[in-house]
Symmetry: D2
Subunit: 238 residues, 4 copies
């Protein structure tokens, strides 16, 4: 049983009926639904309206935290971002979706600006350049996304430990759309598709990737905290 916590800002869906029409149960509801359908996942969701309830207790019981945010990154208290960061250090998986590239926890994990260039309303072809990776299982050479927000290079993130997907956009840009980093003891996956006004999270292959990523990022090792010990010499014991 993998314990998944989903944070979705949940602002667009409440304020704009066109977005609500795409995601009637919120983006978090959509993700929760397809993950549940995959079996043996236990799912909790949070939004900006109760973000401070993402406590240490919740995170201790979370294998993988999925994060979607866009225009209300500031509504997330610094303490929550620090808490999330700390649990990733200890082994919790973290999946940042789309505009979460600018979320507080992701920026703190990357240690860089995470900037990019962008344009609403383009067509994307998502190339699978590491088909042997667990996250890419069940995915063919590429996925067509009929409409998606363009995110283009230069994406200011550290060198990914694994680069799995490259995005091609009709308008002329490319993007490192699926990247893995080992941070502390945790695995971090950034995945670019998922603009709120496009039904991207309804596409079966996109659901497959996120589901695969949850399984991949679930920790096989976790510590209660990371310390910096003064140690005696192992040689002293020999």
């Amino acid at each position: 049983m993998i314990k998944v916590t989903i944070y979705n800002e949940y602002k667009h869906e409440l304020e704009d009926e066109r977005i609500a029409a795409v995601y009637p149960k919120g983006i978090h509801g959509c993700i929760a639904d397809f993950l549940s359908a995959d079996g043996d996942m236990e799912i909790k969701t949070f939004t900006m309206h109760n973000v401070e309830e993402i406590t240490d207790e919740v995170l201790k019981e979370t294998d993988v935290l999925i994060w979607w945010g866009h225009c209300a990154h500031e509504a997330v208290p610094d303490e929550v971002a620090a808490r999330v960061h700390n649990h990733v250090m200890c082994g919790m998986g973290f999946i940042a979706l789309h505009s979460a590239h600018f979320s507080k926890p992701f920026i703190k994990l990357m240690g860089s600006t995470c900037s990019l260039c962008w344009r609403d309303g383009d067509r994307e072809r998502l190339w699978n350049i590491m088909p042997s990776h667990p996250i890419a299982q069940g995915i063919g050479k590429y996925i067509e996304i009929p409409e998606e927000e363009m995110y283009g290079e230069r994406f200011d993130v550290p060198t990914p430990d694994e680069l799995i997907f490259l995005g091609w956009f009709r308008g002329g840009e490319v993007f490192r759309s699926g990247c893995v980093w080992n941070k502390g003891l945790g695995k971090v996956f950034y995945f670019q598709p998922g603009h709120e006004s496009n039904p991207t999270y309804h596409i079966p292959e996109i659901q497959r990737i996120i589901t695969n990523a949850v399984r991949f990022a679930a920790p096989c090792y976790r510590l209660p905290q990371i310390d910096c010990p003064n140690v005696s010499s192992p040689e002293a014991d020999m």
Copy 2:
């Protein structure tokens, strides 16, 4: 002409005469001296006593910032750490020495805890595992450091982009002692040797490495700031 700024906490040297005996002009003075001797370097130094004077103006005029801190990391205001981070994003080089693994700017750049294990008073042999790297020029197979503080794995940092030196300690530990990361547009080099009570920065090979690192980390490209632009399609122009 490379413009180097050195920050040294400068607390041990003022408070403990044994440390002052090792570094009569402060660690910053020692580093400034050997860098100057290499020619075409223009050097400024700062300490915890005027750390807030590390302004944007100073950093704009800095190619490479060297940082040494140990027991007064908290004396560095968050704004100064944020400023340093921002200039690294824009291209400034950053060299973190020894206990600067726990300095605010380095932690912010790494996005991880930077923890390790440690023990005072050991013997180190520093292995050069990437002799073709610019930072390793003039260095043989290894360097003997008769007495140094042991820093041991697990060093909780992201995967280095380049791993140049590995430390061997008589007491039984190993350490990734010389690592490079590309962060934003800047180059970051962490170098483990340099405990305040040991005359490590007087060793010619250590001076050579730090001098090489300054030349390596000096930017060939720099931007005034990193933005996240909404762009029109390059294809629209075709």
Copy 3:
């Protein structure tokens, strides 16, 4: 059920009774035994005496190939090395043990000389620097190996995709003792311990690492061959 093929040169054990005393069933027999004990592994073994029987048919039915060789690398025909290489490209896992750093398939996979420095009869402490990695599960901070052949840097291999273990040797050297590379669609793991005259493969933690590595390197994706297709434009279909 993971299908494992083990190649062991099997020369020392037949020619030197001291080696035979350490590995009465051969190194391959020892490895086969502890892997079998882990359950759901189907194991085949080959030696230099029937190395040409490692055919395409055998490799097609192999998830992970383990390779131990030392003084008879030349007894392996180039065609067998090419065959192994080709199957790794297509997804087969490959684990090179100890002196297999100089085996034909490993050198072909690395594309570098794989040279190192060495000395018989030392004491090793194997540090686990990536405790969150699947291969490191069940392993503590370090493993003591009372006697082992020293392999020291510089190890001339490409930058590992994942660096899991660092070896410390009493004689003064360090080594990147456990490394992972993604090569083609296959995973390659190099693991340094295992000199024929030392009972290293009888140490439970070493057995745990090799068993973990087999599970890690078993492919989740595999192709019958890698081609270089002339393709029509995906855009032509839009």
Copy 4:
């Protein structure tokens, strides 16, 4: 003075007058011309008609070897490829251009199939995703290449140490078009643009990249050969 050796197959130019019209002096002549114009470069050229003259003596006197080949890879003797490989191990730089992805020396260096998908006659936009890299100096956000052969993912090469350029193709593909690997003591740069029927090497930004790459790949450290020494313990000397 950087000593550059250029190998160009020089078959298309002799056999097809349309290609000769694009590169009247051969691709090697074109590259030699723009490199010479940059100053302090000493250039030798070889073709398939005298490829066996690329001797150890020539390679010893070569800082960087540039390689262009397409339909006559087999005309390069295995010994020449082995010789080139060996000199890269010792520190010589190697730049593989376009269809040299399938050249013998490049395949040997990569240790993978180097396959890709391709289509003649497309439009490319080459994105500069690492503007701080020495190879990218003087290059803007992207370069337009009006007509170029499409090379598309999956490009079967090991994880690049540095990924500098990403290619976008009008037909719908993406490609890791500019990659650096450290191999042995040498630096290897692969650069995708440069189909024989397109005037790509006449584009000033392309010339700038190749010139930068020569300066970057020129060795600062080189050994006559790589050995695998049996060493006494450094500790034995203490």
